[in-house]
């Protein structure tokens, strides 16, 4: 179906190696499961790494309460079918203060409902390592990150003080107060993720496939109305259009793309031919210059 599949075997083996190194070296790891395509691949690789045993760590989902309904349904089905432990955490303080993506700028909303929530959950669970599905091809500051990404006390990323990381040797020995984010998909690209999903016949959230959905176009970005909390500006109406998502997050902050790709082969083809980068549809990344690096310094994935 698609060219270039033999390198996926190498990437898969590298990811399994990383999972096993982290599981062997850290006391209490957790897998950040955000339901999207990268998390799907991440979870699949975790199962492969420890097979026939189950992954020796729980999953953690930071629920902002603004995820697409299809995502939550997919999450619950996956966890049930695979018999995994899932921790769901919401920042209830943020919820009580009604921090939401309509009334607050993306930077504030993300900080409270995602970054702070994540830190609360990691601290509460006493986790010293968290697996994430971040890839270096996603964004310029992520392109700079190690596989074992050390965080100073308070989960701060200090990009100027990253540890050397040589060959296949992953040094997980922690200093006082340090924790680690582990990125098994570091060397995967968006194209690799889709080709792997197609080859391994993995289930993904239906929102990735093109379908007629109610769309509101705002500032040139297409938002899909997922529930009654949508606030229409004067003159706006939802119009049915055939769209899909390249990346999934909170629905008011994640833009769809027009597409006819309604099966995996078509998605792979569309991804490899894409002229725009994947996170162009992530509204929170464009709020400020260097937005991702700032969020990462504060503890975001």
């Amino acid at each position: 179906m698609t060219q270039l599949t033999s390198h996926l075997k190498l990437l898969e083996a590298e990811s399994i190696h990383i999972f096993r190194e982290a599981a062997a070296q850290f006391r209490a790891p957790v897998l950040l499961y955000s339901i999207g395509k990268d998390s799907t691949v991440l979870l699949h690789l975790a199962r492969k790494a420890f097979w026939p045993a189950k992954p020796p760590f729980p999953l953690l989902h930071v629920d902002t309460t603004w995820k697409f309904r299809d995502m939550i349904a997919f999450r619950d089905k996956t966890v049930r079918e695979l018999g995994l432990d899932l921790i769901v955490h919401t920042n209830h303080d943020g919820l009580a203060r009604n921090i939401n993506p309509f009334d607050h700028p993306p930077s504030v909303y993300t900080d409270v409902m995602k970054t702070s929530a994540l830190k609360q959950a990691l601290d509460a669970g006493g986790f010293d390592a968290a697996f994430g599905g971040a890839r270096r091809d996603e964004e310029a500051s992520r392109a700079k990150e190690r596989v074992f990404s050390f965080r100073a006390p308070g989960h701060r990323w200090e990009p100027r003080r990253q540890r050397p990381e040589m060959w296949q040797l992953l040094n997980g020995r922690l200093g006082k107060g340090e924790t680690v984010r582990v990125f098994p998909l570091s060397n995967w690209t968006e194209g690799d993720v889709w080709r792997y999903i197609a080859l391994e016949k993995l289930d993904v959230v239906p929102l990735y496939f093109a379908a007629e959905r109610p769309v509101v176009t705002r500032n040139g970005q297409m938002l899909v109305v997922d529930d009654e909390r949508m606030r229409l500006e004067p003159g706006e109406t939802a119009v049915m259009r055939k769209v899909r998502f390249r990346t999934l997050g909170c629905w008011p902050l994640t833009a769809a793309v027009e597409s006819d790709a309604d099966d995996l082969d078509a998605i792979v083809e569309e991804t490899l031919a894409a002229k725009m980068s994947e996170r162009a549809g992530r509204l929170i990344d464009h709020d400020q210059d260097g937005a991702m690096e700032m969020k990462k310094r504060e503890g975001y994935f």
Partner: protein
């Protein structure tokens, strides 16, 4: 067809070749001194070879406004320098990873910083590369930092080097200048173990000989950089190496399942063959090779698998499973060449741990015998070692570890040195010599102490740093000679 099925097909088609399709994935490093144009070269390569999306092009074009460099409108380095501090200062601080593919190949590009201060980041990048592109500025030729980077590439095991002689536009596209730098570099490369050195004259800013052939240098008939990268064979290792699999963890599951999980780092193994644990010397027969895609009959270098043996060897993480005939050394004394990465200098009194494949072993004592001089590339006797130095050293381990020599089996012959205090990675190195049976004090062992040496073999030496280093070197040499004839020796100076 899933990935496992696909893999079976591949191995059938290429039964006589390494079982992986050759060159599907090429890991590429750019290095060289500061301001020689590394990020610009890679930015240009991505820009011209279509590794850049439209929104990134728009953002770079916008950000390049008011940053005109040498009359060019686009600052290609912005594609790589992703940290705010890098953009503000116009320098590269940490390595950047970029990815692109051509119809036949997937490339991982590792762009490394040129500043001496960030050598530890360059060493990190180099250790992941199959091929290095070493840049020099055609106006200046190789600098001290160029030689340091070449030495680090050599140390971490890179066998193929492209010398990209950049900024040819600034020397009027002069063939004579190109030949001069090429000759200098070839003379210098003789100090290293590179298997292949290719030189290409380029101008990263204008793109000459990066992706598009230069019209200004008709005297150059060789490949463009991209031509070379698409054709080069990244595989340099021996195909027929002895089987090794460092154990990462022991997996237990229902039904008494007990398997050793790890990645095969060398050779291959089939069900029914004998396996030995190098540390304990215990042997067993391989009963199953387990993966989630089903059991396999054999596994080879690069495969992440779980091995089930016919008897319980009582081994754990850190063990290296090996074939019986060619085993690792169960060593507790090693010699190594390392690059010191920590701002804190080497301290013989500090506590260190040696992290090899999956093992972590306490270091009993460690001494430095020589440093590489980056002017001459020769080794000079020394006993101290600071950040960014390349040093030869001897390490005594608190217990034996399964060790190979790096030149034979890189993945069981490399290590990082870890601070026992804060866990930091302070050095990365390669094992050049390993031996079992470091003597313990109290055994029937010859102690080479200071007084003994000063009264004879070192009687001509004084207290200057150079003399102290020479004292240490002679002590090590005497110990090597004695050990080679079977005399257990301990150095206490």
């Amino acid at each position: 067809m899933n990935l496992a099925a696909l893999q079976e097909d591949v191995s059938v088609e290429t039964a006589t070749l390494p079982r992986r399709e050759k060159g599907a994935l090429v890991r590429l490093l750019t290095c060289g001194s500061v301001d020689d144009g590394k990020s610009t070269l890679i930015g240009r390569l991505l820009w011209d070879a279509a590794g850049v999306t439209d929104d990134q092009r728009a953002a770079i074009t916008l950000a390049s406004h008011n940053r005109e460099v040498n009359g060019e409108k686009i600052d290609f380095s912005l594609l790589l320098d992703g940290l705010q501090a890098e953009r503000e200062q116009g320098i590269t601080i940490d390595i950047a990873w970029r990815y692109f593919e051509t119809p036949d190949r997937r490339f991982i590009i590792i762009d490394s910083p040129g500043h001496e201060q960030y050598t530890r980041n360059m060493a990190t990048g180099a250790s992941h590369a199959d091929i290095a592109i070493l840049l020099v500025d055609a106006r200046h030729g190789a600098k001290r930092q160029t030689r340091r980077h070449a030495a680090i590439c050599d140390l971490v095991g890179i066998k193929k080097v492209v010398l990209a002689i950049n900024k040819m536009d600034a020397v009027d596209w002069s063939e004579a200048r190109y030949r001069e730098i090429e000759a200098d570099f070839r003379a210098m490369a003789g100090s290293f173990n590179f298997a292949q050195v290719v030189t290409i004259p380029v101008a990263a800013l204008t793109g000459d000989n990066v992706v598009h052939r230069s019209t200004a240098m008709s005297w150059y008939a060789g490949p463009t950089l991209l031509d070379y990268l698409e054709a080069v064979d990244p595989e340099t290792e021996i195909v027929d190496g002895p089987f090794r699999m460092p154990v990462q963890l022991v997996l237990r599951a229902s039904g008494d399942f007990r398997g050793y999980a790890g990645t095969v780092t060398s050779g291959r193994i089939s069900v029914g063959e004998r396996i030995v644990d190098a540390r304990s010397g215990l042997g067993a027969t391989l009963r199953r090779i387990v993966t989630m895609d089903g059991d396999r009959s054999s596994a080879a270098k690069g495969d992440a698998v779980t091995l089930v043996l016919d008897t319980d060897l009582d081994i754990s993480r850190g063990a290296v499973l090996s074939e019986v005939p060619r085993r690792p050394t169960n060593a507790d004394v090693i010699e190594a060449r390392l690059v010191w990465l920590s701002e804190t200098p080497f301290d013989p009194e500090a506590g260190y741990l040696l992290r090899t494949a999956t093992d972590l072993t306490p270091v009993t004592s460690m001494s430095v015998s020589a440093l590489v001089d980056f002017e001459t590339l020769a080794s000079q006797p020394a006993h101290a070692c600071n950040v960014n130095d390349i040093a030869d050293c001897r390490i005594l381990l608190g217990r034996a570890a399964a060790i190979d020599l790096f030149r034979d089996l890189p993945l069981t012959g490399n290590f990082v040195l870890v601070s026992a205090i804060d866990g930091a990675t302070v050095a990365g190195g390669v094992i050049t010599w390993a031996q079992a049976g470091a003597p313990q004090v109290g055994d029937n062992v010859l102690v080479l102490n200071r007084a003994l040496l000063a009264s004879g073999v070192c009687a001509d030496l004084g207290d200057s740093p150079a003399d102290l280093a020479e004292f240490n070197r002679r002590a090590q040499e005497v110990a090597i000679l004695l050990r080679s004839v079977g005399v257990p020796v301990l150095i206490e100076i």
